[in-house]
Amino acid sequence: MIPAQFGYVRPESVDEAVASLAEAGEDAKVLAGGQSLLPLMRLRLAYPEALIDLDRVAELRGVRDDGDALFIGAMTTHHDVVRDPLVHAHAPLLAQATATVADPAVRHRGTFGGSLVHADPAGDLPAVTLALDAVFVARSPRGIREIPAADFFVDLLTSALEPDELLTGVRVPKLGEGWGCHYEKFHRTAQAWAIVGVACAVRRSNGTVAEARIALTNMASRPVRAHAVETAVAGGPVSLDAFRSAAGAAAEGTDPPADLHGSAEYRRHLARVLTARALATAAGAP
């Protein structure tokens, strides 16, 4: 299959990219790694009039220490995220989840920012940014806007970015001492999208759960935070039984899709089982 024709711009700086995007108008698309966009264009499910290719915008790549957070450039590839020492040290949940995205060749091209802006509720990274309370940084001719993860994912394949806004990167707060993390991905084959995923970070203190952050992949048209479970485990024991009991609330507030790989009911069931497992692994429960 072959994409339809489009105009092509290849800016070399963020300023140039923002200007190009504004000029190109609503029917333009930003091309990051292209691993979601190009297949959609080949199937002619997407017909952008123009592509703004960010490949040459070097300042959008890389991870830097930003005090109490990491700043991850939008064009940092999954491959680079997985191997980045800062990510390993301060956001291991992100490294873990990114390592499960697609396959090695796709991770070489696909980018952190690209997959977040794509806002696919079955994607693994949106839930991770939600669990970590990440902040999205966007640029437009109107300036810089910061968008909390909780507001960034609006709906199926829809982010909060305005048509003229470019995601430049994401600020991911560092997890301090005592945190354990796990991304529990449930899928039918290694390559398949998550039927359900659970991004989980737990801080232990004196043998109890001091704090937990849990977000779910593919349980609604956008990633969902499992607040009820977070509250239920906080202050409680680090035990599988306690986690199982708390995870009974994992499907609250979700609106899971029904598709080839699972009904909504099955997804709710999985969310409960997998949330307990993710908590147990993250917390190192016996």
């Binding site: 091309l31 190009l38 199937l43 060749a105």
Partner: protein, 163 residues
Amino acid sequence: MPRVKVEVDGVTYEDDVEPRLLLIHYLRDRLGKVGTPIGCDTTNCGACTVLLDGMSVKSCSVLAVQADGHQVVTVEGLGIGGELHPMQRAFHQEHALQCGFCTPGMIMASIDLLRDNADPTDEEVREGLEGNLCRCTGYQNIVRAVRAAAEEMRQAPEREAAS
């Protein structure tokens, strides 16, 4: 039309291309590099895997313009002076191919895998090749071949050092 300059298997080409031209079609239809085939539309099968600046990519999901200024190695560019690459040799020795359609991509993905991990376990090979589908072999001999090639490639530098 944008102009691209791409090194493919050691030869530099300059061409005007439509922005939408996929790298795989540039290789096959413009350069006659038909050793790399196309198996799907959605990056799932991996038959079109090539190395772009040394890293595996699926050339059906890269635009030719994105390869501008970069280096591409296809299965046709492997081996030096008529010698097969150890991975090609291992695929032959271990009967890791039948119809051979996935083989170019599988070999390139396997080379990339060893670049990352010179001594993978069976499980690591299987996971590392999750993006390359084969319908003939059941993968068992592919896993065997990748490990055999890894063994040979780990020993080769020592042998050179010893000689």
